[in-house]
Amino acid sequence: MEVINQGTERLFMDPDPDKIRAFFHGKSRKMTRKEMDLKDAVATFVHDGDYLCIGGFGANRTPVAACHEIVRQEKKHMGLAGHTATHDMQILSAGEVYDHIDVAYVVGLEARGLSTCSRKYLESGKVQVTEWTNYSLALRLKAAAMGVSFLPTRNMMGTDTFNHSAAKTIKCPFTEKKMVLLPALSPDVSIIHVHEADIYGNCRFKGISVADIELANASKRVIITTERLISTEEIKRDPSLTKIPFHLVDAVCEVPGGAYPGTMAYKYFSDEDHLKEWLIVEKDTEKFKQFLERNIFECSNHEEYIALNGGISKMRSLRAKELLLHKEK
């Protein structure tokens, strides 16, 4: 198959579908209890050097609690899918958890501005980078989920984004048109925050799915953090609502407010004051160190982190904001 053009950066994960199949061949399909403490889930399923992908979109339905726990447990040398990575990346950069990254969207927190911490870490030379796009990373996950080694697309062409990727351009044998082929990406571990899950890992969430369904299907191991546990009877009452089935999941952790200070659709809006605090305090290395001590290392779990930043009354006000109560006449 003649390759017309190809990116020159490193491909961090092997796209060979037979190797990915071999892993899934050995993965248990039994519907067994998987609920556990987030601390144990991260200790058991997240290893130094693993390639990690975080679910959600930026600071929306993002498993922030899990990102804190990964930093608390001082995981190192991980690979990261910088897939609309915003506040999650800011946290993982603070812990210097990863040293190679597939970039789609990084460093920024969208309209909120750039994260000094993420920026400095990427500029430090400690991190190996390969460039992609938001859709391209979603497609790479989809390829792994489909059990193939690549998927074709028509973006990235003619740009340095392509030149600094690990994609390849070929000619379609049906149309003679150029297509970019993206290699499959099967993360070692992914973490996804959902609204509801049962103890076996059957999950529901509302609102946009972003790339979480592709991610759950593509990942070798999946940790679920959920706003609340629900009964399997409720899951089976309406199987049309299930987004992630149990056999993909390795751990289910009940973490109310697990996406705080990000947004959880229909539950709570983002805590913009606290996110701004992050963006400001980052600029002062010493202050940031103390901030991290207080907000991550000295908290034993997310409940303490939320309590530290306003607790129940803060969550109530964020819920009111999410529900637009301030707009009601």
Partner: protein
């Protein structure tokens, strides 16, 4: 002292480009404000798509994230990012608005690094969905302040495709046919691209500025339309709706 600031001008001009019944893929900030203004003025049937999956919401206020809850408020569908991008890939999306740290004479954009790629002066977010939107949507528009450090001879990194090297180079690249940069909207001027060379061309200049201002604030040679118009400034109605209904908290226009 004008009745409006630079951001209000650019948003208004951008909104006027969006005809009724068109589809537009937007990000947060100015692009979103422009789409909202268009819906409240000339284009009530404008369909807004967010890359994270929000489809045709009734935006209650300016979203902070292209994935936050506002992007699915009274939306017709909350979808996946892949499906949202595939509406674009299939040719369903007419317009998109992009920005960037640098733009060149062919409308190519840089949002990845300032300086050398391996040892960057500044590492920026990268493509995000910009390369996707610019590859797939029919017409790409850019809103950015007119500034010679932004309008550069050569990009440090070509993140997002414009007309590439001009001429028919985009067509030859393999990108979907019939797509490409459409309008560049700055505080000083509106530019399009000369059909043959695909080079940036001034078509109108904002009140209070002249050609020289535009050229002084651009590091490459700009082509000029035979009859360059004066840009029609925002009307009182446009400004009122923008200030009172679209961005009452001045998230965007306050800057």
């Amino acid at each position: 002292m004008t009745r409006y600031n630079a951001m209000e001008l650019m948003i208004t001009l951008a909104a006027r480009e969006l005809e009724n019944g068109a589809t537009v893929g937007v990000g947060t900030g100015a692009p979103c404000a422009a789409a909202m203004l268009a819906q409240k003025t000339t284009s009530p049937d404008l369909v807004i798509l967010f890359e994270a999956g929000g489809f045709s919401p009734e935006l209650p206020e300016m979203p902070i994230s292209v994935g936050d809850s506002r992007t699915i408020y009274k939306a017709v569908m909350a979808d996946s990012m892949a499906n949202a991008m595939e509406y674009c890939a299939r040719g369903f999306v007419d317009y998109t608005f992009l920005g960037g740290a640098q733009i060149d004479m062919y409308g190519n954009l840089n949002s990845t690094v300032i300086g050398d790629y391996v040892h960057p002066k500044v590492r920026l977010p990268g493509s995000g969905g910009a390369n996707d939107f610019a590859s797939f949507c029919w017409k790409t528009m850019v809103m950015t302040p007119q500034d010679s450090r932004r309008f550069v001879e050569k990009l440090d990194f070509r993140t997002t495709p414009g007309w590439l090297e001009g001429g028919n180079s985009r067509e030859k690249s393999g990108l979907p046919l019939g797509t490409g940069p459409h309008k560049i909207i700055t505080d000083m001027a509106v530019m399009d691209f000369e059909p043959e060379s695909k080079r940036m061309r001034i078509i109108s200049v904002s009140p209070g500025y002249d050609l020289e201002d535009v050229e002084k604030n651009c590091s490459f040679e700009l082509l000029k339309l035979d009859k360059i118009q004066e840009t029609i400034p925002p009307s009182d109605t446009e400004l009122r709706i923008l200030r009172e209904e679209v961005d009452p908290y001045q998230y965007v226009i306050g800057r």
